[in-house]
Amino acid sequence: MPESGIISVHGVTKEFNSATDRSVTALTDIDLTIAEGEFVSLLGPSGCGKSTLLRILADLTPPTAGTVQVNGKTPAAARRDRDYGMVFQQAGLFEWRSVRRNVELPLQVAGVAKEERRNKASAMLDLVRLEDFASHFPWQLSGGMQQRVAIARALSADPKILFMDEPLGALDEMNREHLQAELLRIWSDTRTTVVFVTHSISEAVFLSSRIVVMSARPGRIAANIDVDLPYPRTAATRTTPEFFEKVTQVRTVLHGMLAAGETS
């Protein structure tokens, strides 16, 4: 039964511009089950359909075929019930709102009373360690801080699931590693299920409990790799032989896949 995970995807295919001569098959025959509390990364080369798969889960685009369940419902119902929070590659903060009011946005849309909104936003800003910047406007923050606000915003309504599409992609290496550690801390604090899109192998290995490797043209799932490095993972984890081993394993799969793609 599809209810075996908090997210289940069966036979999903996505074709853009179907019935025209510019039709693109972004995904073919995707099967994926994600259990509650997992941190799953979707990893693959550019254009393999990672974002498309995430957007199907989030009901931002419909699949052409196949069935999807999110939190035991259709993605549309899950979106209406606000079962998930979403973080995009760009922070996308509303520049006319203060940091606090940006974090309050999902609660305001959900009709939560002002008092509770404020308390919740404060708690979220504590979580991402931006409590001193609550009344700042987005333009006064660095890119990394803005992305932390976006994460706080996605978490403010206590979603069961967090969808993240290359949320750290626009950041420099230092900020990126710092936020990766923060993200793991937040994940272990909130126990949300995370689906995380990236094309960085080391990022996927550091963060994930499982990596779903995707291949391009047509986009399909090439491998599921469990990352059995123990949590909590810290900066020290990155220097362990086990970490290197895992990175090498994932890289081998990716390269083998690319080589196979070239010969076929």
Binding site: L60, Q90, R97, L105, V109, F137
Partner: protein
């Protein structure tokens, strides 16, 4: 290089600000002095008759003699300007809100609005005087309102429709309803466009009211005063009225700029006054 740049900087922030004011204000003062001086000199040197151009000194003395009259005349005019501005702005924003909700009709309606916006709406002045009566404030405010309405409509609609796709997607992921998308995203995003239109509209409103008053109005209106003095003919007094009318336009523009800063504190970045 850096040493020299630092040495050239004033010792304290206060002095720096004063220097900045002087640096920015000085050219204006100098330019005004040169223009007024040149004007006075040319008029006196070539003995220009005052019905063509009175010297600034004469205008200044007319202004001080007539100050009370002009001021009370301005009050009536200011009321019409403000009423017209509010009516035009509220109307423009409301229609923009409706139009931007219906994508199919928005393009043709906005196309027509852009064309009407190019027409000399002030030519409606005598008609409005007929409709509402010359002494009715609505005849003046009406012309101003129509002049304000179109730029506000066109700009606000543009702002409402030009929303970042990412922001729209965020609202969609939050399952926001259309009303929430309008109130929390489209409207605040359109504010910069609205205030640009209001700054333009505030000066248009002054023009609309003054010109409509040229065609008749309550005896204590600025446009009526200017037209009356020019007909007498007392040109220095007419010019004094024109001077006050220009100040009124500037003041309205300043008021809109003030409102803009008040309503959009986040735009501090654009004003360059970082703390």
């Amino acid at each position: 290089m850096t040493v020299r740049a630092d040495a050239g900087r004033p010792p304290s922030a206060q002095a720096g600000r004063a220097a900045a004011v002087i640096r920015r204000g000085a050219p204006v003062v100098v330019a005004a002095a040169v223009i007024l001086g040149g004007w006075e000199l040319v008029v006196r040197l070539f003995d220009v008759p005052s019905f063509i151009l009175p010297p600034p000194s004469e205008i200044a003395s007319a202004l001080s003699a007539q100050f009370g009259t002009i001021l009370s005349a301005s009050r009536v005019t200011v009321q019409a300007v403000l009423l017209g501005l509010v009516l035009g702005a509220v109307g423009g924003v409301l229609v923009a809100l409706v139009v931007s909700r219906f994508h199919k009709v928005s393009a043709p309606i906005l196309g027509v609005a852009v064309i009407v916006n190019c027409a000399p709406i002030v030519a409606l002045a005598p008609i409005f005087n007929n409709w509402f009566g010359v002494t009715n404030v609505l005849s003046k405010a009406g012309v101003a309102a129509v002049m304000v309405f179109f730029p506000v409509l066109v700009n606000t609609a543009r702002g409402l429709l030009q929303v970042s796709p990412l922001h729209l997607e965020i609202m969609e992921s939050l399952a926001a309803n259309p009303r929430q998308v309008s109130l929390m995203l489209r409207l605040p995003g359109a504010l910069p466009f609205l205030f640009n239109a209001l700054k333009l509209g505030s000066t248009l409103a002054v023009i609309g009211v003054i010109v409509t008053e040229y065609f008749g109005g309550p005896s204590n209106a600025l446009g009526v005063y200017i037209a009356y003095q020019a007909a007498l003919p007392r040109f220095a007094e007419a010019w004094a009225g024109i001077f006050i009318a220009s100040l009124l336009g500037l003041a309205m523009f300043g008021l809109m700029t003030l409102l803009e800063r008040l309503f959009m504190p986040w735009h501090a970045s654009l004003h360059g006054d970082e703390k």
